[in-house]
Symmetry: C2
Subunit: 467 residues, 2 copies
């Protein structure tokens, strides 16, 4: 059964994955080409579409009151614009030579082929679920999808006591730890690395740990989880490391995510070193004229390191979708790459990074100087001035900016954008010292913290300075 062919009607665009990248691509293609010219079918294996996955920790934590607040557009809204969305329908096979996909309806179990002229793969990422005993027990949760978030909230309601363990201390782990504190849980975060937020260098991650500890979160660093122990009813009851056991009614896996590219791999499509699909600048899968890919299932070029990496962020997914949709729609757009910008928030602490950490720079063969400065978000005398620590990496000899990390109070995080643009423009720290940034006492000291760091870095890399 199924519609495995089509006649002289409109071209057919098939989208696999109904979240940010997929539905942005569908929407943009639709904006540029009407239904008589292009039919659009999107398959989504979950129950939801077009939602903000990045908002899940805030919904679980109660800052965002309703699940539906996270949904940008409903299936009905997509349908009204001529985009057919098939929820609870998983694509199980791509046949690139036959230009068709095999899909299974989760409710009926029926499978059918659908032909495409153009295909968008936006299968996203899956949380890493390490092969640990007990990892599949009830009470163990990822927080990647709205379905995951709902399952977690249900589990929180069921929990016998109020103890939670978060495995992993990346930004999802840290955000979830805070969300669970808000639910009245006692929270322990078990982390493989020396400090939380491995997206920062450890000296900056230490500042995050202190803030977490200030919230009452127990941080266990340098610890390897070996087992999730279960109770007689089969539910998770504790997380065991090689040396300790931490009781847990709820376990959150925040170890990170991997591109969900099993389907693409089976179809013989090219994957990179991090398991993500490889595309060209127009977001076309390399070597394929009629297949595009975007969002958390692809690798992107880091413009600073010169290497591909996996950066699962909604902002990139939306850009990818926009670019894919434009290209399918008959326009022209490219995604030049990323510089590695990320911002997050733990309680009142704002955390930001862009470019390379020390270990990234080491890995790609760059030599650099680092400086760290303390400043404030506003003029020191202005009410509400919050402390801020800025770390900056600059290439030796050339003085080119390589990376910035910021940890501080309100107003800290978005300052990283200045550095992100400077990285994109390949500016030197000397050039950054001269930037005309906004100054008024409610917004910045007379020397913006980014300028203060750049001045110090410029002294460090200048020919007259120490080498």
């Amino acid at each position: 059964m199924g519609d495995n062919g089509h006649g002289g009607g409109p071209e057919r665009l098939v989208v696999i994955g109904g979240d940010a990248a997929g539905m942005s691509a569908a929407s943009q293609a639709r904006r540029m080409r009407g239904p008589a010219d292009l039919s659009i079918v999107a398959f989504e294996r979950g129950n939801f579409t077009s939602y903000s996955a990045c908002g899940i920790p805030y919904w679980v934590g109660g800052d965002v009151p309703e699940r539906d607040d996270l949904i940008a557009r409903t299936p009905q809204e997509h349908a009204a614009r001529g985009i057919e969305l098939r929820l609870r329908t998983e694509v199980t096979e791509i046949d690139p030579d036959g230009r068709r996909v095999l899909a299974r309806d989760a409710d009926s179990g029926s499978e059918y082929w659908t032909a495409y002229d153009k295909l968008v793969i936006a299968t996203g990422a899956r949380p890493v679920r390490p092969a640990l005993p007990g990892v599949d027990a009830p009470g163990v949760h990822g927080v990647q999808t709205l379905d995951d978030g709902q399952a977690l909230l249900d589990s929180l309601a069921l929990a016998h006591s109020r103890r939670a363990v978060v495995v992993g201390a990346g930004y999802i782990g840290v955000e979830m730890a805070e969300a669970l504190i808000k639910h009245g849980f006692t929270v322990t975060v078990v982390n493989r690395g020396p400090e939380p937020m491995a997206t920062l260098d450890p000296d900056m991650g230490r500042l995050v740990r202190r803030a977490m500890e200030g919230l009452g979160i127990t941080m266990v660093n340098n610890a390897e989880v070996v087992e999730i122990r279960t109770a007689a009813d089969g539910r998770a009851r504790a997380v065991a490391t090689s040396t300790d056991e931490f009781p847990a009614d709820v376990v959150i896996l925040g170890i990170g995510v991997r591109p969900d590219t099993g389907l693409a791999e089976s179809a013989g499509l090219p994957l990179g070193a991090h398991g993500g699909l490889l595309t060209d600048l127009a977001m076309r899968v390399r070597g394929r004229r009629d297949i595009w890919a975007g969002g958390d299932c692809v690798e992107v070029l880091n413009l600073v390191s010169g290497q591909e990496q996996h950066v699962p962020l909604g902002t990139h997914a939306n850009k990818h979708g926009q670019i894919i949709g434009s290209n399918i729609g008959g326009g022209y757009a490219v995604f030049p790459g990323v510089v590695g910008t990320a911002v997050s928030k733990v309680c009142d602490l704002e955390i930001a990074r862009t470019g390379l950490r020390q270990k990234d720079a080491d890995r790609v063969g760059l030599r650099y100087e680092t400086v760290t400065i303390e400043s404030t978000s506003r003029a020191g005398y202005y009410p509400g001035a919050a402390p801020m620590t800025v770390k900056m990496l600059a290439e030796r000899r050339t003085g080119r900016l390589l990376g910035v990390q910021i940890v501080g109070g309100e107003g800290a995080a978005k300052r990283v954008d200045t550095a992100a643009v400077a990285l994109t423009a390949r500016m030197t720290v000397e050039q950054i010292t001269a930037l005309d940034l906004g100054y008024a006492p409610p917004f910045s000291p007379v020397w913006d913290p980014i300028l203060v760091a750049a001045r110090k870095a410029a002294t460090r890399v200048s020919p007259a300075g120490p080498r």
Copy 2:
């Protein structure tokens, strides 16, 4: 009398003007050269030094509790570092050929010559005082210096009733209007232009007017002040325009400032079209080897318009001082120019601009497209998301960014820094659409407002779009 010569001792640096530019220059030179190598004398005609003039409205308004909070460094602190500061001492003549300056002590009235090897002119700016009847009456105030601020506070305490008129609606006028509201005054702002904040295009200035009116400030636009009327005791009692009279116990002149360069002009130093000193990239006065100038008394190159302009802002003054001090200290530093960034705050409204307004672009012969978009400071579903309006100018055909104006709630103003860096790097709006800016729900919608504006602008300037 006086020390009009010096022997084989250290070189002597003389600084005229003891605020941001002058004292930054002195401090940086001192950092690089000890007292045995360089003696430093700074003359300041006022009673204060090294203070944040930009903080005066916040001190007058009560946000900053103490005057001394605005003082970064006292004369005693300067003295401890080997910088001799002569307060209440006005330089009345520069003799460039004789390499000496004539100074008058305000208390004793005595005058004396001081020789220099290197001279820094940092005489700042003076508020424009139009030649109106009554402009010198008691109760009429500028707010350029700490002395001005103190005189105003004294005047507020004396006022018979609580009515104030602010003449001019630039950022100082607008900030002062808000400060006077906090003192319980009824405030009228009389403005020559069509909307307040002429640093914005009028369509954006309108948003500021609405916020001011929301605070209870009466905005009178398109009005020319013809007289400040005085009472029998000689104090100001009303501001008259050609058609109306506005009662006032206190009048604030917020018409803007002009470079204070009478001294430099008398000495034959080169001034530009806006009355500011002209310097080279190292902040040396053009044609002079031993005289530098910086801060509010110089003109700076606008990198977008390609023309000199007068931009009296503390952030530039500090940079100039730093650069002058480095060069005098034996280092090397240059000031490449500005892009015209400014941020300010009226109540909860944040206001920012960078680059060119429409009239600036018209004046220098640029053709452009403009777009205006509405967005929010955070993800729409995240608590505290504030509305934000972004206007963007992009050059026709090339798509190069020319300017950005932002008016919005908390988190709006410093977003202008992204555009300031992009302007410095001469990016196109198409390039800006691809920038890797920080995204997380507490900090930004998934498309940062700057990206949203750039996308719309890119469509407008692209070859496929309307021309």
